[in-house]
């Protein structure tokens, strides 16, 4: 491919930079709305800190509830960064380029809240530093803390590396921005002047990080799975937990990714960059993951259900016909089977609406599934629950718990939005470079080099 016309390149950059710092009415509404939920959650958290975990519905039998379910959810979602930037890179999928920064932003936000959830769940959060001063490396909790911290740092670096050339572009182009911002950009751009050595070094750094981050990402979620798989409880005492969590996580992450790019496409007017090709390809991945997850579910529930060992039976009966049966069958049918059917048809995969619908179902199923992994198992321990006080042999989350849960989810979305604000959502330099090398089609962008199609609203 021939070099891009510098004017066109300039035009593309202007277009992508136009979202930086720009206010969108709908977005402002969401930021305020989510911010208010977060304030509510913070108030709830303060109440919980003062009164103790007694304000939650967790009791001695169900000693882990929504918070830990949400921990598993967030850790899971954070895997999407590794999927897009490592797995797709290694499989040579060129259409990933416009998605990289979005995926990393989701990862960063998710892993931040994943690190936050255990603190919410602790009886004595003020003793958190004991993990460092008295840490026992035999405990999976310590592994989890180390893995989450490592993955967080890794994700920050991975978010930053492809940002360097873009920051240089911002430094050079957005000369009318406030002085402190320009100063920050100059500092963060590391004197990037796009010379060959710099390019070589950046590519090398990205390659190394891409290789390192994948095992870290997998370990983060596997260790989270071990938190429950390392116990001797019926339903949890299973070797499938690691892969089960990892693939469930990739599935949920892909669904979230689809929803976010669907929102960004119109919200930020990125129709030329986030195209049906991306939805189609992500839908294919989602199809493969949901199908594989269904297979894992059949293994996880079907194998013990065939044998019906005494202790497993109580848990399985609860899920199949008991109090949680509605949720269970919802996750299996609405969360897996129906999305698989939808995504199996090419016509539906090519329709953004259908892909989004399937993603919403998958995501809802994945969220409920985290709850089903944690709570029903705790209600069926080996030793029968007898003479339980009121509220001990059941779990109905309290308002405080719902408030904190809702605000964590709100905070997760809010943080993603805030990460999109100071930087261009699409990796400018990589997209232009790859378009030069391979053409628009392979990258999945549409009509960005046809000048007249570009609606310019550069600042």
């Amino acid at each position: 491919m021939e070099k891009l016309n510098p004017e066109i390149k300039n035009q593309i950059e202007n277009e992508l930079l136009s979202t930086v710092g720009r206010r969108y009415r709908q977005e402002t509404f969401w930021v305020i709305f989510l911010g208010l939920i977060c304030v509510g959650g913070t108030v709830a958290w303060i109440i919980q800190l003062r009164k103790g975990l007694g304000v939650t519905a967790m009791r001695d039998y169900v000693s882990w509830g929504l918070y830990i379910s949400l921990l598993f959810f967030f850790v899971g979602v954070s895997l999407i960064g590794a999927l897009v930037s490592c797995v797709l890179r290694m499989s040579g999928a060129k259409w990933r380029y416009p998605l990289i920064r979005i995926a990393e932003a989701v990862t960063l936000s998710a892993i931040f809240f994943a690190g936050f959830m255990p603190v919410l769940d602790m009886g004595r959060p003020e003793r958190l530093y004991y993990l460092i001063t008295h840490g026992r490396i035999q405990s999976p909790i310590l592994w989890d803390v180390v893995a989450i911290a490592t993955y967080f740092i890794g994700s920050v670096i991975y978010f930053y590396l492809p940002l360097i050339p873009d920051l240089a572009i911002m430094r050079d182009k957005l000369t009318d921005a406030p002085k402190w911002r320009r100063k920050l950009w100059r500092w963060l751009a590391m004197g990037w002047e796009d010379n060959l050595l710099q390019r070589r070094l950046l590519k090398k750094a990205m390659l190394i990080l891409c290789i390192v981050i994948l095992p870290v990402a997998i370990s983060v979620h596997t260790i989270s799975a071990w938190l429950i798989a390392f116990t001797l409880r019926p339903g949890w005492n299973s070797t499938i937990m690691g892969p089960y969590f990892v693939f469930g996580a990739l599935m949920a992450g892909t669904a979230i990714m689809i929803l976010i790019i669907a929102k960004l496409r119109h919200g930020y007017r990125l129709e030329h960059y986030l195209t049906p090709k991306h939805f189609n390809n992500l839908a294919k991945i989602l199809l493969a993951l949901t199908a594989f997850y269904l297979y894992l579910n059949i293994n996880k529930y079907g194998v013990p259900a065939y044998k019906m060992a005494k202790e497993e039976k109580a848990v399985l009966n609860d899920l199949f016909y008991g109090n949680n049966s509605f949720f269970f069958w919802f996750t299996q049918i609405a969360g897996l089977v129906i999305p698989i059917i939808i995504l199996s048809f090419k016509r539906f995969r090519q329709s953004i609406k259908w892909v989004v619908t399937a993603s919403v179902m998958v995501l809802l199923g994945a969220l409920i599934n985290r709850y089903l992994i944690v709570v029903p198992n705790m209600l069926h321990p080996f030793v029968p629950i007898q003479h339980a006080q009121h509220g001990y042999a059941s779990y109905n989350p309290t308002l405080i718990e719902w408030a904190i849960t809702a605000s964590s989810l709100a905070g997760f979305v809010l943080l993603i939005i805030l990460l999109f604000k100071p930087f261009p959502v699409i990796t400018m330099w990589e997209v232009t470079e790859e378009v030069e090398k391979r053409g628009e089609k392979e990258i999945g962008v549409e009509n960005i080099i046809t000048l007249q199609n570009i609606p310019t609203h550069a600042s």
């Binding site: 490592t150 010379n195 060959l196 070094l201």
Partner: protein, 183 residues
């Protein structure tokens, strides 16, 4: 167990030191304990004498106990014959009280018609080895991690963090590279 020790001979007796107000019906007695042992049994011979008359006390019911942490474990009992002697046997598979392997054998007179309540004791070295105090080993369940876990944990985390540092070093070199004119 060495052959010469099988018939080892312990003789210990303790004088009653408490002075109890004299009661006409019951006598104050002294018990001399004589212990020998064979392969599987301890043989204890108790000689009960009336302190006042220095005569053997007969028809005294004696119970033999071994002192344990939370109570007295009954091992044998009997009644003295006309010479004031009881011979009782009990199994020698009794562990010591602590690492010294010693345990106390107590001969007790309890609610006897003849003699006032009293107790005499003898310290015996057990033939059984006392389980050694084992520190909790380095293990998953213990306070200290097994070395292989420490090594693999540090290695795994260390490799990742070193690579992070190397990546940051590359970023530093990017900054350095801006000074040069290469292209």
């Amino acid at each position: 167990m060495q052959a010469n020790k099988i018939y080892n001979f312990i003789f210990l007796s303790f004088l009653l030191t408490t002075t109890v107000a004299a009661q006409d019906e019951k006598i104050n007695g002294n018990i001399a304990l004589h212990l020998s042992s064979n392969d599987s049994m301890y043989v204890v011979t108790a000689t009960v004498t009336n302190i006042a008359t220095q005569q053997p006390a007969k028809d005294v019911e004696l119970t033999f106990y071994v002192q344990r942490t939370f109570g007295l474990m009954k091992v044998a009992d009997g009644t003295t014959d006309s010479t004031g002697i009881i011979t009782a046997e009990f199994s020698s598979d009794i562990r010591g009280h602590d690492a010294t392997k010693n345990f106390l054998l107590i001969a007790k007179v309890e609610e006897s018609d003849v003699m006032k309540d009293t107790a005499f004791q003898v310290s015996i070295q057990s033939k059984l080895t006392f389980p050694a105090d084992k520190p909790i080993p380095r293990s998953i369940a213990g306070a200290h991690a097994p070395w292989w876990l420490v090594v693999s944990f540090i290695a795994a985390v260390g490799v990742v963090w070193l690579l992070f540092v190397y990546v940051l070093y590359l970023v530093y070199r990017i900054k350095k590279a801006s000074m040069k004119v290469i292209s």
